[in-house]
Amino acid sequence: MRIVVCMKQTFDTEAKIALTADGLIDSTGVTLVVDPYSEFAVEKGIQFKEKFGGEVVIVCIGDTQAETAIRQCMAMGADRAVIVTDPAMDGSDQSATARVLAKAVISQEPDIILGGFKSVDSGSAQVMLRLAEILNLPHVNVVTNIEIGEGKAIATRELDDGVELVEVSLPAIFTAQQGLAEPRYPSVKGIMQAKKKELKRLTLADLDIDPTSVGPANAKVKIHGLTLPAPRKGGRIIGGEIPEATADLVKALRDEAKVI
């Protein structure tokens, strides 16, 4: 079975987010990691390989820094990788990203395609599904389990009030939610082996994609600017008598924090 996992590199979730002078996200000193949702997918892919044989291929769009994330996946057990690096990709939107991914993914002739249902940075939660649509493959979104059968798979899809089991025929795309698989900690043996695994570096030209068809100019959605939220008002003690304070708390949770 050939398992292709779409992997994205992101900021560590604990990273402090700051803006540069020109209002962009400041990445200086930030620890970069495999996106946690991608990581669930990578782990699941490796588990499939261990169970059914075959290989796990990582497909990634990113710059050279992303290669450390790829090596990390290889250290976990992925067999090889394809990375698409092209300056033209900077500022591309999800639709362009999905188009490029589609080319890279399909060239691997996958039996199963996995990826995170979202990433922790942009969190737009649409690339994998756009990919499914482009490749005209069935998908199951936000899954916490996948059982492989003969030519098909049954995935557990998260609902707002439960789960459902959805059957699709393979090849198909599944997007990982937390709970799909607990990523393993790579062994040093794995890290050593990873250094020697095949990493194919591609540009858009290699994939027969016109660089002028991607990038900000072709984005369906344009970025206007980034802002930082008002800093946490940290430790606001709601004073007053208990009944009033409690009522105020509920109000604050609802109207200010908007969490209930």
Binding site: Q94, G123, V163, L165
Partner: protein, 329 residues
């Protein structure tokens, strides 16, 4: 033809609150554009819900009622919705950022070769309409706009953010009934089973809201009231290691360094002092509430909201207040 559409996802003959919130905001959106507000009702036995949509601001309700639409599957819903969009050519379509919306919107966006902004939390109306959404788990916000050729504009709306319009009783929307030939669609997803989490509590690590008790709970019985509060909120109940050590909760509910790591939208720490071993398991929660009688407790240093007081006094009131607040929704 044009219009701002709200995809009014219904379940069991009811709307979730977010649908009304969407109608509230979509009304402003439509007014800004000088277009109509349409609600789209797709499902089985949903027609009678149209009046509610009218009362909440919809000008037209587009109904596609078909017994075969009882359960959501991507291919069926995407197929019929695409048909409706192609027929009526809306300017924008709003979906809830629910599991249905999260699945349907990206597929449609790709089918329509248009843009999609997910998890929307704000709209600024001006010469160019700007859409705001959180990135980096809310640690930054980005403002976006749709390219001129990106129509319809597709959006998924974060629940609990926008305000529903005041319902106007008696306000009627024009109902347009649509139909589709479902047989023409290829169905690639087959639902084998649906497991509803009725009252069984949500899983700790996946819950949106977690309420945890610590040594301050004094005994296992007192956890009952936390469970009651949790039921109201649809929350999971966690515990500090101290509470687990006392045997008041099972070890699998321990939150912290050597327990579970959670990062819900809301974390309520009750009678927990806030040792770092506990913080390590919950400090990335979006909003932290602390209830503790000791004003010096470390937990207040990380809490967004705190109440200094006896939890046995606070929790029953909290339960009542929540009941009221959520009932009115």
């Amino acid at each position: 033809m044009a219009g701002v559409w709200v995809f009014a996802e219904a379940k069991d003959g009811k709307f979730r609150r977010v649908i009304l919130e969407m109608l509230g905001e979509a009304r402003k959106f439509a007014d800004h554009l000088g277009e109509e507000l349409w609600a789209v009702l797709v499902g089985s036995n949903v027609a009678e819900l149209s009046s509610l949509l009218g009362e909440h601001g919809a000008d037209k309700v587009l109904v596609m009622d078909n017994p075969n639409l009882a359960a959501y599957t991507t291919d069926v819903y995407a197929g019929v919705t695409l048909g409706l969009i192609n027929t009526y050519q809306p300017t924008a379509v709003l979906f809830a950022n629910s599991n249905m919306g999260r699945d349907l919107a990206p597929i449609l966006a790709q089918k329509l070769d248009t843009g999609l902004i997910t998890d929307l939390t704000g709209i600024t109306y001006g010469p160019e309409i700007l859409f705001k959404r959180p990135i980096y788990a809310g640690k930054a916000l980005v403002e976006l706009s749709f390219a001129a050729n990106a129509r319809p504009m597709l959006l998924t709306i974060r629940p609990k953010v926008f305000t529903p319009a005041e319902p106007q009783t008696g306000r009627q929307a024009e109902v347009i009934t649509a139909s589709a030939d479902l047989n023409a669609l290829t169905l690639r997803q087959v639902i084998k089973d649906v497991i509803r989490k009725a009252s069984t509590r949500v899983d700790l690590t996946e819950a949106d809201i977690v309420i945890s008790g610590g040594r301050g709970m004094k005994n296992p019985e007192n956890f009952k009231i936390l469970e009651e509060v949790a039921d109201i909120l649809g929350a999971a109940v966690g515990a500090s290691r101290a509470a687990v050590d006392e045997g008041w909760r099972e070890p699998q509910y321990q939150v912290g360094q050597t327990g579970k790591v959670v990062s819900p939208q809301l974390y309520i720490a009750v009678g927990i002092s806030g040792a770092i071993q506990h913080l390590a398991g919950m400090n990335s929660s979006k909003c932290i509430v602390a209830i503790n009688k000791d004003p010096e407790a470390e937990i207040f240093k990380v809490a967004d909201y705190g109440i200094v007081g006896d939890l046995f006094q606070v929790i029953p009131i909290l339960k009542q207040e929540l009941q009221q607040a959520l009932a009115s929704a």
